[in-house]
Symmetry: C2
Subunit: 191 residues, 2 copies
């Protein structure tokens, strides 16, 4: 019953809605402390449902191709995007994980693994330094007490990063989904 003018107006509304979804994805990414353009590209590629080239992205965002290149590289190092070779095209295509939860897990584990690694190195260094100072100690109560304090601190530090380490493992192995399952198709479930 409707004219084709209505049709194209509806389609425009639908596209606008898609754009809003992409924006929301982008906003979510901010919580991971990554640049907002990362979130934007993630949202765009996700909603596009097909891998995209740097030129596609530059056009979609209105930004420079150089920036697209920088951001995609960063996304790859965060494990939330990957290159995909499309035959017949010389351009690199980029695709993103299309599962929200999986993206969450990837970002979480990638970010924290890096921290764990640094923390471990630091704990080793701290251990050596404390031992060294202890060896040179003049035995005064003040020094000894401080050494004991630092030793305790070191213990807590080690316990901390070991915990994060196991936490990351818990996410990455998928065990998290036994404890906190993903409930799909449960309409109207809210609290």
């Amino acid at each position: 019953m409707s004219a084709s003018g209505d049709n194209s107006q509806l389609l425009e509304q639908l596209n606008e809605t898609e754009r809003q979804i992409a924006d929301r994805i982008s906003d979510n990414m901010n919580t991971f402390g990554v640049s907002s353009t990362i979130g934007r590209l993630l949202g765009i590629i996700y909603m596009n449902r097909e891998p995209m080239t740097l030129d596609d992205l530059a056009e979609a965002t209105g930004m420079s191709k150089t920036r697209m290149s920088q951001v995609m590289r960063q996304m790859i190092s965060l494990n939330i995007a990957e290159k995909e070779h499309v035959k017949g095209s010389r351009k690199e295509h980029y695709n993103v994980e299309n599962d929200y939860v999986q993206t969450f897990v990837s970002l979480f584990t990638t970010n924290w693994r890096e921290v764990i690694s640094k923390n471990r190195q630091f704990a080793n260094k701290l251990q050596r330094e404390i031992d060294e100072i202890a060896a040179a100690s003049d035995g005064s109560a003040e020094v000894d007490q401080k050494i004991a304090e630092l030793r305790k601190e070191l213990d807590e530090w080690v316990a901390y990063y070991n915990w994060i380490n196991r936490l990351v493992e818990f996410f990455e192995s998928g065990d998290i989904f036994d404890a906190v399952p993903i409930e799909r198709n449960n309409k109207g479930e809210d609290n």
Copy 2:
């Protein structure tokens, strides 16, 4: 028998070590996407083991009191610091959670709760918009297919934030510690 010169040199080394710990704490905070000064203050107050005033902090960091005020307010809103009234002093004192893991949990839950809230509002709005468009649909295959796509997207979105919501609950309730226990060294038996 050591001279007092050795003693003060040792103490200086110990203080330097403490400073390194504070720095590491600060670096860890970056992963939560918060300003590095937040991490710095957290580290300083933590290692100080006593609540501190804005003036104390300004002196410890060499930064302005205004900035200290801004940062402490932010830390309080992130649930990782709190005001503490010290009698006999007119100044506000600030204290921080002294358990690394608990700080992690606080930041995690505070940050994501905010996202969940925004996502929930968004999902409701999206639902309404899709219904509205569907009601105005001209029944063309193209429009209907896109509407169906968006509906599916909405479902996934809802499943996603419901999952994060339950995840946050899992952390906040402490159930996470059944699944991933904190393994403390038996050395220091505090708490």
